[in-house]
């Protein structure tokens, strides 16, 4: 068990070295959430769809979750890229547990999202969003961002192992992001949705992630509650990791 986590952190460690070697990616990733908050948010704040709650307060956690989703859901492309190079073959021929390889990569996707969280916090502060600065809340946000990106990056890895080529992967990736985003409570509350969309939204892990982030960041209580949010994300990540570990070796055949 200790060895398993050691190996996991080795994989994550070197992925993280690679991320920070070229920080341009992190900066370009920050453009999208900035646009949502500074353009979309500035218009929608005027229609008060969230009642007494300020719309920017409502949407900032949603935008953080959305950027986490967008970064993580394309993680599979890196898996296909490594397969094309030959790195995957080499990793699989070492005595490293498959699950450690998959979890290590997923954790590094989580780390990739931490600078994004910092940028969203900064922008939200500039826009006057009232945010909870307690260490407990910040730690909770950090944990949820990592957990959320583990879920979506592992999901992405599974897709990559099934479709196997970059072209097909890009198609499937595009196909999934918008529905996951729209069928969530990121930019409008659950209560405003038609019943069919509410039903979909309630089985979408992104909704639970946003629910937790919203409560932790701004103190706006959501319909699900923190314990359920973390439970759903944890169970999703475990299930996907188990599946991903079984499928990972398929990417090379």
């Amino acid at each position: 068990m200790i060895r398993f986590f050691q190996k996991t952190f080795v994989i994550a460690e070197f992925e993280i070295i690679k991320i920070f070697r070229d920080p341009t990616e992190i900066l370009t990733r920050a453009v999208q959430p900035a646009l949502w908050l500074l353009v979309f948010g500035q218009v929608f704040v005027r229609i008060r769809i969230t009642g007494a709650v300020n719309y920017l307060d409502f949407m900032s956690p949603g935008i953080l979750a959305q950027s986490t989703l967008f970064v993580s859901i394309f993680y599979g492309i890196a898996i296909i890229w490594e397969r094309d190079l030959g790195l995957t073959h080499k990793f699989l021929a070492t005595p490293t547990p498959r699950a450690a390889l998959v979890l290590g990569k997923a954790l590094s996707a989580g780390v990739r999202c931490i600078p994004l969280a910092a940028i969203v916090y900064l922008l939200a502060l500039l826009l006057g969003v009232q945010m909870n600065g307690s260490p407990f809340a910040l730690l909770g946000v950090l944990l949820m961002v990592i957990l959320g990106s583990v879920v979506f990056s592992t999901f992405s890895l599974i897709i990559a192992c099934l479709v196997k080529t970059r072209e097909r992967f890009m198609g499937v990736g595009q196909l999934m992001t918008m529905p996951l985003f729209f069928a969530s409570n990121a930019i409008y509350p659950l209560a405003l949705m038609p019943p069919w969309l509410q039903a979909i939204s309630k089985v979408n892990p992104l909704s639970y992630m946003i629910d937790a982030l919203r409560e932790l960041m701004t103190g706006i209580p959501g319909p699900f509650g923190l314990s359920l949010d973390f439970l759903v994300l944890f169970l999703c990540s475990m299930g996907l990791l188990a599946l991903g570990s079984v499928l990972y070796k398929r990417v090379i055949t």
């Binding site: 080795v10 030959g86 073959h89 021929a93 080529t165």
Partner: protein, 274 residues
């Protein structure tokens, strides 16, 4: 020309077979490799060399049959097999974003080398492969020959009993190629590492391998020392290339397993390191 070997076998296959649907890529392969020898699997594209190596390195499950490496079965004990082998795939297996040193450190940790030994092992491996000066340069700035030597360094740090090299000199110019070969021979002499490799260059196989096996359509055609195989043709001037042609029963277009994707990968890789 016997499959029998002198000394203790490090690798033995028993009717090792892999099918893709109806297509039999490796067909009841029986070979034995003695500890400490340099052994080559030769044959035309699509003969089953890479499929055989993928099964032996536990990347691909066998359809039937089995093999043992250092006494461990590839089907029943794959994680002990993985700990006993080193593997340099045909494609690139070092990370261009990391330095040479970091690439070695990553694998030293994955192979679980004790912390106190890591530094000396890495330094030794770099020294051995002539990469000490380039250790802290990004692998993006390495030449093709340096990349190959780094990959071999990476695969030998944990002192594997058996090292698999799949086309180690593909895409290299003659100077880089000779240097890689010198290091492979040196590796075998210094550490007694058994080496199993594939190549398309018969001259190389002739000069450097203790024994070679020819595969054709997934089946073992013949195995022996290069000298034995040349003599067997009855022509005193026969080369290993003549042996190759003699045993290659594939027609030119039978290479159906080399799909567009694998060809693209091989060429991309040759372009990248060449």
């Amino acid at each position: 020309m016997q499959n029998a070997i002198v000394g203790k076998p490090i690798l033995e296959t028993h009717d090792l077979t892999r099918k893709y649907g109806e297509f039999v890529a490796v067909d009841h392969l029986n070979i034995a490799v003695a500890a400490g020898e340099i052994f080559a699997l030769l044959g035309p594209n699509g003969a089953g060399k890479t499929t055989a190596i993928k099964m032996l390195t536990t990347l691909l499950p066998a359809t039937s049959g089995d093999a043992t490496i250092a006494g461990f079965s590839i089907t029943h004990d794959p994680s002990n097999v993985r700990a006993s082998i080193g593997y340099v795939p045909q494609l690139i297996s070092v990370d261009g974003t990391l330095t040479g040193y970091e690439n070695l450190l990553l694998f030293a940790k994955l192979y679980g080398l004790p912390r106190v030994e890591r530094k000396t092992r890495i330094a030794e491996s770099l020294e051995f492969m002539g990469l000490t000066e380039a250790a802290h340069k990004s692998v993006h700035d390495y030449s093709g020959g340096m990349i190959r030597r780094l990959e071999i360094a990476q695969s030998m740090m944990h002192r594997p009993a058996l090292l698999f090299l799949d086309e180690p000199t593909v895409g290299l110019d003659p100077i880089a190629r000779n240097l890689v070969w010198e290091h492979i021979v040196e590796l075998q002499k210094t550490f007694g590492t058994t080496i199993l490799l594939t190549t398309h260059l018969m001259e190389e196989a002739d000069e450097l391998c203790d024994r070679v096996a020819f595969l054709s359509r997934g089946k073992l055609s013949v195995v022996g020392t290069p000298q034995e195989l040349k003599n067997s043709l009855g022509d005193p001037n026969a080369t290993l290339e003549d042996v190759f042609i003699h045993y290659a029963t594939e027609s030119l277009d039978a290479d159906t397993r080399s799909t567009y994707r694998t060809i693209k990968q091989t060429r991309n890789m040759a372009a990248r390191i060449g």
